[in-house]
Symmetry: C2
Subunit: 229 residues, 2 copies
């Protein structure tokens, strides 16, 4: 049974946020979708080990910022590959708190909504929170980031806690003749052909040609954390 | 509260199929997604009034064909805007039955999987079926149909039974100066600028210039069923 068929399901890329009093947290998610139209309800899948999960479990509220296509990898990495237990993810980020108390990220977001949890469905490693829309807003117009764009154009990677973590990074290995390097921390693959234009590195720059202070655009790890594929 | 923010969530376009003995049925769906990676489980949202729902409820099995970008509107309309109670949706369609008995559509599909239901979550008008992957297969390579492409490029519409039915067709009205016509049966909007190239109608063909035997590319209604927006 080839589970790679599941890579052909379509998703967007979102920041899900929640709070525990004054303590704010947020994480990247791709499994967010509308379930009913009347009343409008959404569902979001969250790994039980994530800090956001414990906040939502307690407060019964969460908020979602819908990201635009041009969102830098580093911004996604900040929310997707770090834990709110160790870092303040909202430091140096523009955000506002909604009436529910949940913070929504304004940087790189097209629009947002908050939702009140009406039911929790236990799915094993993840819980699906079914929630009723409570507040909405538009920030700007722009193209939406899709999961496909994140992977195929931005060369982003998937954390192990994500519902859609599969063998995709492994599958992608060895497709190109040019030497690529893989980040041992987050599995980001440095592809010399695409390079890292978000951070001023032009296409067709070999890994060896990167400046010494270059860091992984996703998780911030140094060059020494990379190894040949 | 502007529920139009929900139009910025991303989806694909799928055919979900099921069977009741020799009786086969299938429908279009956009809310299908992976929920856990180990073991790989997926969830699909189905309206309780749909025939597919009653089949899945009974057999605890369903299959999903993942559609390609070039899928004609009429093919989507056949599965999305007709009821299996009145028509045999598999007539003139290439399909095969999987070991579960579920039929999967081969036309316009990139790949498929079948899944065994392990849990049902009641969400009001819809039920989310959580299911464990049981069989998979690839049919061809190609670009995937996204919900955004279906709406913005193919000018497809959303049936009222869909979880994502909202005011989107209403929102879209009045955006263009050129006279557009709306199908009273399925809400498809004939846009003269885009016209209906799937059926040989070139861009910039006024509604009045359509041949008398032209029918709605989504639901098959005649020209007389259309009215000015």
């Amino acid at each position: 049974m080839d589970t790679n068929v599941l890579h052909n399901l379509s998703y967007g890329l979102y920041i899900i946020s929640a709070c525990n009093g004054a303590f704010l947290n947020a994480q990247i998610a791709n499994v967010v979708f509308q379930i009913t139209s009347n009343p409008p309800k959404v569902a979001a899948s969250i790994n039980k080990e994530n800090l956001t999960y414990s906040f939502i479990k307690k407060s019964k509220e969460f908020a979602v910022s819908i990201l635009e296509e041009s969102t830098p990898l580093g911004f996604i990495g900040k929310f997707g590959f770090k834990s709110g237990r160790e870092t303040d993810k909202f430091k140096d980020v523009n955000f506002k708190r909604l009436s529910s108390g949940c913070p929504i990220v304004l940087d790189n977001a097209i629009c947002y909504f908050s939702a009140e949890v009406v039911e929790e469905f236990d799915c094993g490693s993840h819980v699906l929170f079914l929630a009723r829309l409570s507040e909405t807003g538009f920030i700007k117009t722009g193209r939406l980031m899709t999961y496909e764009y994140y992977h195929n154009v931005k060369h982003g990677t998937t954390p192990q806690a994500a519902p859609t973590f599969l063998r995709e990074e492994i599958v992608r290995k060895g497709q190109k003749a040019v030497q690529r390097y893989c980040c041992r921390v987050c599995n980001y693959v440095y592809n010399p052909e695409a390079a890292d234009p978000d951070n001023g590195i032009k296409p067709n720059t070999a890994f060896e040609g990167l400046p010494d202070n270059w860091v992984c655009p996703v998780c911030g790890a140094g060059k020494g954390q990379f190894e040949k594929e």
